[in-house]
């Protein structure tokens, strides 16, 4: 990773290349739609560069982006247009895209992995939004509970309880998986 300045407007390409996948995944994990995730990503980075803040550390910048992504998804999820739209249409489209991308080598091993991967992702996407967020940040972004707490603006005990409940909800769906 190239060294980035802590001033937001000084390294557009570097910031976009490094943090865009993270913001995109967070938005996708919360909304379940690629199109919505793209819109949220654009909105988050537009705010980032407009704010033109000099951050204290790289952790600060990451937390700012995660917090902005969560807030933007909340705003979009609270809109009337989003609430009246079909809820899981995006998730269905996402799985179809994955299937199309993986259809080039239909071996048995790949099929098993694909089924297992889809099973894990499908189980996570069946969780409530707040549980999806902490699962994603904890297991994929490797953030500690305190970092998640600061990033999404809730208490650590809340993060712990949400993680615990999310695991309890995933266990019946993923019996062969160790948490």
């Amino acid at each position: 990773m190239d060294v980035m300045t802590l001033k937001a407007g000084d390294s557009f390409e570097q910031v976009m290349g490094f943090y865009m996948p993270m913001v995109y995944r967070i938005a996708l994990a919360r909304l379940g739609s690629r199109e919505d995730a793209e819109d949220i990503t654009q909105e988050v980075f537009a705010r980032y560069f407009k704010a033109d803040i000099t951050y204290e550390s790289e952790e600060h910048r990451k937390a700012w982006l995660i917090r902005c992504a969560v807030n933007c998804t909340k705003s979009l999820a609270g809109s009337a247009w989003f609430r009246h739209r079909a809820g899981d249409a995006g998730l269905e489209n996402m799985r179809e895209d994955e299937d199309e991308n993986s259809a080039l080598s239909p071996t048995e091993d790949y099929t098993e992995r694909l089924l297992r991967k889809n099973a894990v992702l499908d189980a996570v996407m069946r969780l409530p939004v707040k549980y999806r967020t902490v699962i994603h940040l904890f297991y994929f972004e490797d953030m500690t509970i305190s970092e998640i707490s600061r990033a999404i603006g809730v208490r650590e005990n809340t993060v712990k309880s949400q993680l615990s409940r999310a695991r309890e909800m995933l266990k019946p769906m993923l019996k062969e998986v160790d948490f």
Binding site: M94, V124, Y139
Partner: protein
């Protein structure tokens, strides 16, 4: 199988493709390079909030006084509204008075002065009584002809505003004395007498610039005391009349009339004859001397004595009520007196010489009483509302007097 590894593999594959990344970069660049537009949304929100607050404020300022006034008027007219004291009535009167309707502020005292006991009834009822009494002549108050309709009466049901405005006319200001009504002879009557119709000046009315009404009326018993009379004023009025009509009495009164009046049959003079007022003693004595036994038809029940020619006659208590002492005719006015006080007032209702209808002249009945004025006799209706004067010899109608109180 570890969930963390499996989830990293699954979520790691959820990456935007290169076209998507380029599209998002271009959109972000375009967004941040766009000049900051005018904040229409923020302005609309702030402006809308300010406009809503202004509308609410204006509505409150406009509507609240109207609602308060409606409540006051509804309280006045509502049958269910029971105001417990006269002070509350006065308070409402003051409130309405501030809105341009002049109402006497001490409403309770004003109502008491005009025969309505505001402590016994709800103020709203009192006001209703005032409106009704002004229409039906039941209330002993003075009606300004300008208050009513063009003919002096009330053709329509009095509305609230009319009633209050009428009250404002009757009570022009706090503490002011109500207007007095002039009798046909020019004398004034205190506010205890209501005049439903404007007085039409009858021909031959004698102007007497004298007030005979000084005694305050009783607020509780309307029949007891209505009009006070000043004996000095009465004396002056009678003197003026005599000077105009009869001139010197000594020249016109025959000698036979100077003889003393005969005693009424079966009546004890000490008990039946109520004492005349002191100021009238000279007149009555002089008048009694002018009557002769032949010209005095004072026979029968109810006729006890009479004095001057057609002016002062003794009246009967059984007919006109307890305490009545005399019937006095002054010009176009007739009065039933109790000493100095006028119990019942009459005014001429027919032009002298005109003939009333037969229904207006009850010639029979127990209430018919004859009074032996010279050349005349009087007939009183059963309800004592009318007094008719006829010529004794010809029986022709001379005049009629209608009760005005």
């Amino acid at each position: 199988m570890n969930f963390k590894e499996e989830y990293k593999k699954a979520a790691g594959s959820l990456t935007p493709d290169k076209e998507c990344v380029d599209r998002m970069k271009a959109a972000v660049l375009e967004n941040i390079s766009r000049p900051k537009s005018f904040p229409f949304k923020r302005v609309a929100l702030v402006g809308g909030a300010v406009a809503a607050c202004a509308v609410i404020t204006v509505a409150a300022i406009t509507v609240v006084p109207l609602l308060s006034r409606e409540r006051v008027l509804n309280t006045y007219m509502g049958n269910d509204a029971a105001l417990s004291s006269s002070e509350s009535c006065a308070g409402y009167a003051e409130d309405i008075g501030e809105e341009g309707i002049s109402v006497q502020s001490n409403g309770s005292s004003a109502l008491s002065d005009f025969g309505v006991n505001s402590d016994d009834a709800a103020p709203s009822d009192n006001l209703t009584e005032i409106a009704a009494a002004s229409e039906s002549d039941m209330l002993t108050t003075t009606v300004n002809p300008a208050v009513g309709s063009s003919d002096g009466g009330y053709d329509e049901e009095p509305r609230v505003s009319d009633t209050l405005e009428d009250l404002g006319e009757v009570f022009p200001e706090s503490g002011a004395e109500p207007e007095t009504t002039l009798l046909p002879n020019g004398a004034s009557i205190s506010p205890s007498v209501i005049a439903p119709e404007p007085f039409e000046e009858a021909p031959g009315m004698l102007p007497v610039e004298t007030s005979i009404c000084d005694t305050a009326p009783s607020p509780t018993n309307e029949s007891e005391t209505i009009i006070g009379a000043d004996s000095n004023s009465l004396e002056a009025a009678l003197t003026d009349i005599f000077e105009v009509e009869t001139g010197d009495l000594s020249e016109t009164i025959p000698e036979a009339a100077l003889e003393p009046l005969p005693e009424p049959e079966g009546i004890e003079p000490e008990t039946e004859m109520p004492p005349y007022p002191e100021v009238m003693e000279e007149e009555t004595e002089a008048a009694s001397e002018t009557m002769s036994a032949e010209t005095n038809p004072c026979t029968g029940a109810g006729v006890e004595a009479h004095s001057l020619d057609g002016i002062v006659l003794a009246a009967k208590e059984e007919l006109f009520g307890e305490g009545v002492t005399a019937l006095r005719i002054v010009g176009n006015s007739a009065m039933i007196l109790n000493g100095d006080n006028v119990l019942i007032a009459y005014e001429a209702t027919f032009v002298p010489g005109s003939i009333p209808s037969e229904s207006d002249i009850p010639r029979t009945g127990a209430a018919i009483e004859k009074y032996g004025a010279e050349g005349e006799y009087l007939v009183c209706s059963n309800d004592i509302n009318l007094i008719y004067v006829f010529d004794r010899q010809s029986g022709s109608f001379i005049n009629a007097y209608k009760k005005i109180s």
